[in-house]
Symmetry: C2
C-alpha cells in the first residue's frame, strides 16, 4: 500500500483535464467512481463490504484521499484489494490532475472498477470534476435529513446517492421520504440506494447499479 503526497494542479484547465482522463481511463477498461461525503459517513465501510460482496465478479481498486493518515487505505489493503493513499496537501478536494497522479501510482491489469474515496467534505469536492465516470454521494442516517437543503450542489452533481447506516434509523429522527423528496427536487434523475453495510440491507441493489453502470460506460 503506497502513500503519495500531492500538490494542487492548475485548475483553469481542470474541466478539460477531467474529460481527457475520463476518456483515457475508458480506453484502458478502467471505470472510475468518485465517492463524496461528509467525514464519518461510512465510505470505507461501504467500499469494504462492496469489495467482499463482489469478489470474483469484479476487480475493485481504491484510491483513498485524505489530509492526513493512511488508516483507510490500510483497511482496504487488508482485504487484498489494490489500494493507494493520497494526501491532498491540506486541500479539501481532489481535482483531475491529483486523481491522475494517484492513478499513476496504482497497478492495473485492466477491467478494474476504481473507487476514489474523496476527502470527507460536502462542499469543495462537488466543485471539481475528478475525471470519474460517475459521481456518488454518501449520506449517513445520523447526519440528518436536512442535508439536501444545506449542501444542494453536492446532490446536484451526483449520479447516485447512497444512504448508509440504515440499521441505525430506529435511533435517529431521520425521514427517509423527506431526503428522497429533497434530493429529487434538486436532481430528478438521481438514483437513491438506502443501505446498511452492517446488515447487508440494500447492498445488492447498490452493487447491481455499479456493475450495470460500468456496462453503460
Amino acid at each position: 500500500m503506497k502513500v503519495i503526497e500531492l500538490k494542487m494542479t492548475v485548475t483553469d484547465s481542470n474541466d478539460r483535464d477531467a474529460e481527457t482522463l475520463r476518456r483515457e481511463l475508458g480506453e484502458r477498461g478502467i471505470f472510475l467512481i468518485n465517492l463524496m461525503s461528509a467525514p464519518g459517513s461510512g465510505k470505507t465501510t461501504l467500499i469494504s463490504r462492496t469489495i467482499t460482496d463482489l469478489a470474483g465478479r469484479a476487480k475493485i481498486a481504491v484510491m483513498e484521499a485524505d489530509i492526513a493518515s493512511d488508516v483507510d487505505a490500510e483497511r482496504i489493503s487488508a482485504l487484498g484489494a489494490e489500494s493507494i493513499q493520497v494526501h491532498t496537501d491540506g486541500m479539501c478536494h481532489m481535482d483531475a490532475g491529483m486523481t491522475r497522479a494517484g492513478l499513476d501510482g496504482m497497478d492495473f491489469s485492466g477491467g478494474e472498477i476504481v473507487f476514489l474515496e474523496n476527502v470527507g467534505n460536502l462542499i469543495c469536492p462537488a466543485e471539481f470534476d475528478t475525471g470519474a465516470h460517475r459521481n456518488v454521494m454518501i449520506l449517513s442516517v445520523p447526519e440528518g435529513d436536512d442535508k439536501p437543503l444545506k449542501y444542494p450542489l453536492m446532490f446536484q452533481t451526483s449520479d447516485a446517492l447512497v444512504i448508509t447506516k440504515m440499521d441505525a434509523a430506529p435511533y435517529f429522527d431521520f425521514d427517509l421520504g423527506a431526503v428522497i423528496r429533497r434530493a429529487k427536487a434538486l436532481n430528478p434523475g438521481i438514483r437513491i440506494f438506502p443501505v446498511s453495510a452492517k446488515t447487508g440491507e440494500g447492498m445488492s441493489e447498490w452493487e447491481s447499479y455499479i456493475l450495470s453502470e460500468r456496462e453503460d460506460g
Copy 2:
C-alpha cells in the same frame, strides 16, 4: 431572524482582524464561541439544549453559517434567542471579516454569549481565526473514533471537544477512550465533554465550562 449574504474578505490581514474583533467584543461584554464540526454532528441540537438549560442564567445568541438554507437559524429563532443566518457565498469557512459582518447584523444589549455555528466542515474552518474567544470542536459518535487521525489541525486548534450523540454509543463501534487519547496526543490541554443533548448526559459539565470560560474572558 435575518439572513445575510457574505463575501470573502481579504485574508492577508485575517489574523490581525481576528485579534481586533476579539478585543472589541471583549470590551462590549460579548463572549464569542466558534463551534466547528462535520455536517450532521448535532451542533444546532447541542446549541438548542444549551440555550434551554441556561435560560435565566445566560443570554445566548447564535450566528448560523451555511452555504445555503436557513433551517438552523429558524430552529434557534423558535427558542426565542437572538439569531442570524449568514450565507458564505460557497465558501467552506468563516473568517474574521465575515464574522464581524454577521455580528453587525445582530442586536446585543451586552453580556451575551454568542455561538458561531461555523460551516459543517472539518478542514477549512480550522485554518481561519474568526475572532472568537474560544474554539470548540464537535464530534458525534456515529462519525467514528478515527477522526483525530484524519483531521489533526481541527483538534489542535480547538480549546474544547464536545463528543455528541453519546446515547447512540451502544449502536456504533466507537472507542471513547481512543478518541480522548488521540485528541490529547494532538493537543494535551484540550477539554473533552462527552454529552447527549437527547438524554442530558454530560450537559451540565459542558454548560459549566462555558460559563466559567466567559468569566476567564
